[in-house]
Symmetry: C2
């Protein structure tokens, strides 16, 4: 194989995608010590624009690696780009000519579904060309909805932020003696893993979400109002965790604007699931209701990292390089859970062609039959992923974020 | 004076109001070791309902005090209640009969403007009655808008959360190469202190808000669009910090629904300042825009406490008790800054009658003449208030919140 290594990041950022980048770099120092490690700026776009940066000197000290691992988002920049289906498209010639020019022997792509699709197409094209480049996908997504891996890098830190923040919100809400409903909207259009995390604090007797609604099952507003009335018999201030993706039985997103308004780009405007629920509570129950959307901090709150997530993400990056060193290509590296109590994790891989464009949902058996909560079994399965704190580098009370210059 | 002590919490919760409660309790152990310390549940409401809890045994170990200091919101519960102007109203007889029954020699009320109003009325009533009870107000508010005190307990932790989160959001936004505007809405209806905190990271060369709009000056949408166009010449992804309270020159809140819709309670519905700005950017600049409301976590994110804020809040509570011990009443305890570099803080007091219903605004000289940012001088003044981290008690990765049972 050629001597140099290329790596890139793609898709929505997470708080752990840089930890995986650090792991890939550490793996390269271990398994390919003689090659230049290039980083592609903005994923595949950086390959197409020949915007490749040698990283060996830019990230070299222990302090560099640690700062990189605790900086959110994607230090190399990201893109949202899907390669054409037709492998004879000239874009592939451009990419492979860049691989040739920079003598790239292995390419590691850290990303979600679209990135795995890119890995699949590029490794198929490489086979067609008889090019022995090794192309490995390394997963990430806060949504935890990739199949074949026990969970995804970035999910643990996002889940820790959600669980911590919902616990704090529940603490805040409880100070008043008047009835109120606080509706917390959580990311995850298709899968409810992150929303489910809002229940973890109850495993330890702490306050958290009283009701949890996932997108895996249909949502009925009348049942929701019944759930609220029932919970009000037990306590005065309620916290509801709701996935942005809850939908009516006919499949319409509950948060879509009921009048179907579109913005200037032609996208259907979302008033938001939580906004609509809050209106419902005010109108039908005449009760104080408020909305909290956890929004982008779910994927970038590096001040609330899960140590489990970060150390696993680093190890996953290293495993990717080891897997390439062993002569493999066209694989996605995976987490394999050996045991939950005690929590033991191992690593594996799966042909990336098997993973493309598939979604892993919360199993319906882990959702209560009435759709208003998740099982404690599910929470116990998620709990180890948020354990441990990471002390981030700080200056004057604020994080020091690593930048690749 | 009578031997027992009463304390209560009132108004919107903060992440530091329990630290002050802890300080008051510690002060009582030091200065009034023989009295019973009662906590009033839900502020003045707890006095009226005779819902007073002896705290001496409930909060006694070092671990109890530490857990209390790191738990957000109000451990005794809160209320929003203003006492009648007329001191001959029978409600005052009820309150003073409870003071008599429980042999209360001093009452400490931790809260914002309404609570200081309560302290003022009760101390005036006490004087009328010839009752020697000592009544002391201890301030709190994340808004930092109380006069006569250098800053307010709770502001430092809220400002640290805002600065940290906006820095992380800026890091997240920067990953894509397409132009975008992210508008972060920050609490503070009348005063922009908390919104200004979104600029602190720039003192250390970190990414943060590129534009900052406070409610102290009029907001003009055409100038805002000009500011965005100007900043786009320097960089591709912009972050805007905006106070929820920005308003047009005629005084209308910019976030008020333009059609003046009201909810079922008759409150004018706010579509939100950031929502309106985002629409403006999409429509006028045809550019990607998104909205992040930091919302309630600003006041309860105890996983991101400022050590300066917490230790000062504890010391302020102790100072309140010392001040009462010295025979004073009708005072609000204050922070007095001796120096910013090095940062040195002392404590003082002011007659509570002078403070009632006054607001401390960000001085207009600290806002750039075009209204699009704040001065570095202001940021340097705020910076010491967010310094230092607090390691909160945790179990399995999640906070342990203290509850008074």
């Amino acid at each position: 194989m050629k001597k140099n290594i290329l790596m890139g990041q793609s898709g929505g950022p997470t708080a752990a995608i840089n930890a995986t980048l650090s792991g890939v770099l550490k793996g390269c120092r271990e398994f390919f010590p003689d090659g230049i490690c290039y980083g592609a700026r903005n994923g595949v776009k950086g390959i197409l624009n020949e915007n490749l940066i040698p990283l060996n000197d830019r990230i070299s000290t222990e302090a560099d690696f640690y700062a990189l691992e605790t900086t959110p988002a994607a230090a190399l920049g990201s893109c949202r780009m899907k390669l054409p289906k037709d492998l004879s498209d000239p874009i592939y010639d451009t990419i492979f000519s860049v691989f040739e020019k920079y003598e790239i022997g292995a390419f590691f792509y850290i990303g979600g579904n679209d990135s795995m699709d890119t890995v699949e197409k590029l490794s198929r094209k490489a086979a067609e060309l008889g090019n022995d480049i090794r192309i490995i996908g390394v997963p990430k997504t806060i949504d935890n909805d990739l199949p074949f891996t026990d969970h995804t890098p970035g999910f643990g830190s996002a889940a820790k932020f959600v669980a911590t923040t919902v616990q704090e919100i529940a603490c805040d809400c409880a100070v008043y003696s008047d009835p109120s409903v606080t509706i917390v909207e959580i990311m995850g259009r298709d899968a409810g893993w992150l929303t489910a995390a809002a229940g973890i604090p109850r495993l330890y007797g702490e306050d958290c979400a009283d009701l949890i609604y996932l997108p895996e099952v249909d949502f009925y507003s009348d049942r929701f109002l019944e759930d609220i009335r029932r919970k009000f018999k037990e306590k005065t201030t309620l916290v509801v965790a709701v996935s942005e993706g809850i939908h009516s039985p006919d499949g319409t997103l509950y948060g879509a604007d009921p009048n179907g308004k579109k913005d200037v780009f032609g996208h259907t405007m979302l008033s938001g699931a939580a906004q609509r629920l809050s209106q419902l509570v005010k109108e039908e129950l005449r009760c104080k209701a408020r909305v909290i959307e956890l929004n982008v901090p779910q994927r970038c709150a590096a001040h609330c990292l899960s140590a489990a997530d970060i150390s696993e993400s680093v190890a996953l990056g290293r495993t990717a390089v080891k897997t390439a060193k062993e002569g493999n290509t066209g694989l996605m590296i995976t987490y394999v859970r050996k045991s939950t109590d005690p929590y033991v994790l191992d690593f594996g891989s799966v042909p990336v062609k098997d993973t493309a464009n598939k979604t892993k949902y919360v199993p319906v058996e882990q959702i209560l039959p009435d759709g208003s909560d998740v099982t404690d079994d599910l929470l116990r399965e998620l709990a180890p992923l948020i354990e441990g704190e990471v002390e981030i580098p700080r200056r004057n009370g604020l994080p020091i974020h690593f930048k690749i210059k």
